[in-house]
Structures are given as C-alpha cells and as structure tokens.
Symmetry: C2
Subunit: 339 residues, 2 copies
C-alpha cells in the first residue's frame, strides 16, 4: 500500500482531475485497498495468486473511488462505503476475468491476461469467488436497499454481456442495441458504484437520483470513448491492439454508424474484417479509412461528449463543494482521453 | 408445470422418500417453479433459452425442496422460503453451467450440455446472470442473516471448485483434501438450502443448527455416493460414462484410498489413466479392479453411510412430525442409490 506516494490534495492545481480524485479519496481508499487484499485471501493458493495478479495490475480503481467520493460528497459516511467500494471493485474484476475468457483476450492492462497464466478454468472459478466475496462484503453492511442496487447491477451486467455476445458480428445491430449494451455492461456498474456511495453517505432521494444519473452518464461516456479508442481515437491512428473489437466482431458505435452510411463495397470490406481474428493491419486500416470517410469515430466521441455533459448537469442541483468540482472535472478528463 | 401429475401425499406408503418429499412440498414448489420461470426471463432471447434448457431438464430440484421442507418443518413460513428456494436452484444451475465449461463436459442429465448447444461463452455469462438473479431474489426478502448464509455459500462453493481444480491429477491429494472439496463444492449449498429454509420458517437457534448440520451431512453423503456411482457404485459395474471422473483427473475418495494401499505397479496403472481423456474402457476397468482389490468403492459408500447417519441424528432433537420422518428417509434413500 503505497499511500505515501499518492498525490496530496494541496498539490491540486498541478494535478489532473483523476489525480485530484485519488488525493481526495486517499484515506478511504487505503481502507478499501486493505479490505480488498484481506478478502482476496484463501487457503487455496491459486485464488489469491490469480486475484491479486489482476487486482494489483495497475487499474485506476475508478469505480471504488467513485463510491467513496459519492459518500464524501454527502458527508455522512457511515463506514458502509468502504465495503461497497471493495465490493464494486470485486464485481468489476470478476467481470474482467469472465470477459477475458469470453473474448479470448491474451492481454489485460499491458500484461498477459490471467487466463493466459492460470487458464480459462481458474479464471472462471476465481471470478465466481470474487463475486461471492463481493456479496459477502455488501451483506455485512446490512443495507438492504444498497444490496438491491448492486445485485440488480450484477444481473443486468451479465445480461448485457449476453446481449453483446448475441449481437457479435450481426450487421443489423442498431445504435439503440449498442446503447443498451453499453448501458448494461458498463454504465450500470458506474451508476451502482455512485448511488450506493451516496446512500451510505446519507444522501436524500434527490441526492441519490443525481448521483445515479451522474454515474450512468459517466459510464456511457466512458464506454463510448473506450470504443473509439479501440480504433485509435478520433484520428483513427493505428497502433498496438488497434482493431481488437473489430477482429472480435464487436458491434460498437463506430462500426454501426459506418454500416448505416456505407456503400455496398464498403460494407463488404467491413464485413470481411468483422469477427475475423486473422484480419491484417491493412484490412483494419481500410475499415478505419471508411470510418473516417463518414466521421464515425468523431461522431462516437461527440456522443460521448453529450453523455459527459449530461453527467455534469446531473450534479447541478447539488450544493457546490470541492468534491463536486472534482467529480465534474473527472468526467471531462475521461472523455478527453481520446481527443 | 405438471403439478397435477405429482404424487399425492395420501399415496405415501407406495412412494419412495423423494416422492413423499415432492408430494409434501408440491404447493410451495409450484410457487417456486413459477418464480424460477419468471426470473429466467430476459429481453435477450439467449438467456431464457439457455437457462430453461438446463432448468427444465429434469433435475429433481432436491435443494429447493429441502428449503421449503425446512420452512414447513418449523411451520411459520413467511413467504421468504419461496424466494430462497428459487435462489438456491439458480445458484445450483449457475454452478452447473460453469462446471460443465470447466470440466469440458459434453452431457448433463442425459442430454447435450448447454455449452454444446450455445457454447462456452454463453454458458459462462448466463451462469453469471442466474447468480445475479439469485441475489436479487434473496434481497427481496430483506432477510440479511439469510443473505449472509447464501452469499457465504456462494464464495465457498467457488473456492471449493478452485481447490478441486488445483488438485486435479495430483496423486498426493489426501482424504482430508477430498473432504474439504466435497464440503465446499456440494455440502455447503445443501446446508445453506436447509438453514435458510429453517430461518424463514421461524426456527430458533437450535432448530437452525439442527437443519444446518442435517444439510451439511446430507450433502457430504450425497457427493460421496455420486463419486462412487461415477465408477458404477459398490460393485464397480461398468456402464455408460463410467470413469468420467478418472479421465478428468478428479481426485475422488475411491482413487485416493486406492493410492494409499496400492503397489507401485498398481499406482502406475492408476496414474496412467488419471486425467487421460483417451483412457480406454479396458484401462478404466483395470483401475476399478484395483479399487475392488482394496474395497475403495465399498469404503467410500461406508463413509457416505456414516455421514447419512449423522444427518439423521442431527434431526433427533426436533419434535417428531411427518416432515421430520420424510427428511430422515430422504437421507437413507439418497445413500442407497448406489447399493
């Protein structure tokens, strides 16, 4: 636990918004991280080995930070936020373990995916273990309403993943289908992370609603940016791992928008690369050229900006505070990753 | 929902104990089955298709029956037992979906495993969905203590599966390791099914303890019998699918006891077949011959009988009732499957 090297809040002007969020939540996150390490323990050696390989692999822990930040925003933290934050991170990591098996991903956060080290079987089962531990941590708070939020998120996320799987390589996928996929697989956990934080911070109904919408819209923006970044962002720059989604047949918005406008021969080029794990960089480049012809990466990022604006607007009814400013700035920072 | 063809309680003398349990729980189980069908619904077609393929495939629903039976035993059912029973069945089916992927099983309950029809990916994700729905049903009861029991069971089950995976083909696996595996992967869910039923039926602490022990010991006995049956039961009769556990490298008690006593050449025969998916029926037969030489199937079933006796003994402190007699008789019936 390298708390001492975290940025300090007094350095705020020099820090980007995520660093300011880290500084503002450092004390609570130290407790969250301790809980995470404690609950990843098991007498079965493979469980903590695999779990910590993933958990310690340098994710920003944005979701649990949002939980404790939301609790702090309302100021009446009752300790439950720590459990919810750790539970949210376990739910997220369980999803990553299962997603990497489903997507047959070789890499995660710049190193070999857990399934490449311990195998698919262990990844499935340790994912199940993390999910079980997440529910145990939630139950300890005895907050049934928050449990309802998180258990619903868990089911909706899985449903969203199945929907995405069913739509894999399906050229008839609509922008509405895509909106439903990203809401379910990504935005709902951001929403849950924020709202259970607000609940444990003592927010009233309006406060919970504001944080719920904030999380949902931030999550939508976040996934749209990720999906544009998979093709190199707005410029469609080619680089390492660019086009993974294309080769996996994922029907993300840049593809869907392109298919809406493309000529028959352009459609054929997209269809040939979509879901083709053997597609060459040249073929991916040809698809990105079609995207650029119809501005689909730019339009995807514009959609992300619209969701980002909605996330910030959701906070407008709340009293001004330093944490409110940080949460708003985090949204801008997240969407500007791909600029 | 073929409630009308279920055996009626008045035919009790002609029925075996599981049929008597079915008759005694028929009304509650009709509600459980309705809830199961309702909660397997989704706007994503693949979810209910896959879920119902498994759920409707003729399992006896022993676990949810135990939940409603335990609630009836204490007589003060408050409705939560229906939710818990459906949740327990969803947890069990989620485990089956993931286990079939982990074990690369082709068949389940006499028909192709779901993964052979919809693929591994859908099986993993629909398993996750069922687990999420299970937690949602539990949360609706607002019974935090029962939620604690079931969420703990969920984590322990996954941990047990990882332990079993880690021990696959490990000739140094001990009888104590095996006892831990079957407790975690099987007995804990039987225990949880019984105790949350007792809790929702208004049992006092002693009653909950009795049902907890009953479920745990029944689960242990059940798994020991299953593991003997995988080799054809006490006689070691060869038939369809006999030796699946051997070919998968599963270190079950018949193998562990044989390795304890075997000569070097016998050990070599066992080691050659263990975890060898290509092992012929002849090779499996040679291993079973070694089992018979050291009575390891018989000794496995004797151990099952000891757990069965402990399960029945656990009920002894409770007042006599028709349901208590049924629950005791179900134990005998379960262990005598392999006689």
């Amino acid at each position: 636990m390298a708390v001492s090297v975290l940025p300090q809040i007094k350095d705020a002007p020099a820090m980007n918004p995520v660093e300011r969020l880290m500084a503002a939540t450092a004390d609570d996150m130290a407790r969250v991280n301790e809980l995470i390490l404690d609950r990843a323990k098991s007498h079965v050696d493979m469980v903590p080995e695999l779990a910590r390989y993933l958990i310690d692999s340098g994710g920003k822990r944005l979701r649990p930070m949002l939980t404790v930040a939301a609790a702090q925003l309302f100021g009446k933290g009752n300790g439950s936020a720590i459990n919810f934050a750790a539970a949210v991170e376990f739910m997220h990591n369980a999803t990553l373990l299962h997603d990497d098996v489903v997507d047959e991903s070789d890499m995660r956060r710049g190193k070999p995916a857990a399934r490449m080290v311990w195998g698919n079987k262990a990844s499935i089962l340790v994912g199940d273990f993390l999910l079980g531990q997440a529910f145990m941590m939630m139950v300890e708070t005895r907050d049934v309403d928050a449990l309802g939020v998180l258990s619903t998120a868990s089911a909706v996320m899985a449903e969203g993943e199945v929907f995405q799987l069913a739509k894999t390589g399906d050229l008839s996928t609509t922008a509405e289908d895509y909106a439903e996929v990203i809401r379910a697989k990504t935005a709902v956990l951001f929403e849950a992370a924020c709202v259970v934080g607000a609940m444990s911070g003592g927010a009233d109904e309006a406060g919970c609603k504001a944080l719920s919408l904030y999380g949902l819209e931030l999550g939508n923006a976040f996934q749209l940016v990720d999906d544009a970044l998979d093709y190199g962002g707005q410029s469609g720059t080619l680089g390492k791992n660019v086009g993974d989604d294309l080769r996996e047949g994922k029907m993300t918005l840049p593809v869907i928008l392109a298919l809406e406008s493309a000529t028959e021969s352009e459609k054929a080029i997209i269809a040939a690369a979509l879901g083709n794990v053997e597609a060459t960089d040249l073929e991916v480049h040809q698809v990105v050229a079609i995207f650029n012809r119809y501005d689909t990466l730019k339009r995807t990022l514009e959609k992300a900006q619209a969701h980002a604006a909605a996330a910030i607007e959701a906070l407008s009814s709340l009293p001004d505070s330093e944490m409110k400013t940080i949460l708003a700035d985090v949204v801008d920072h997240s969407v500007n990753r791909a600029a």
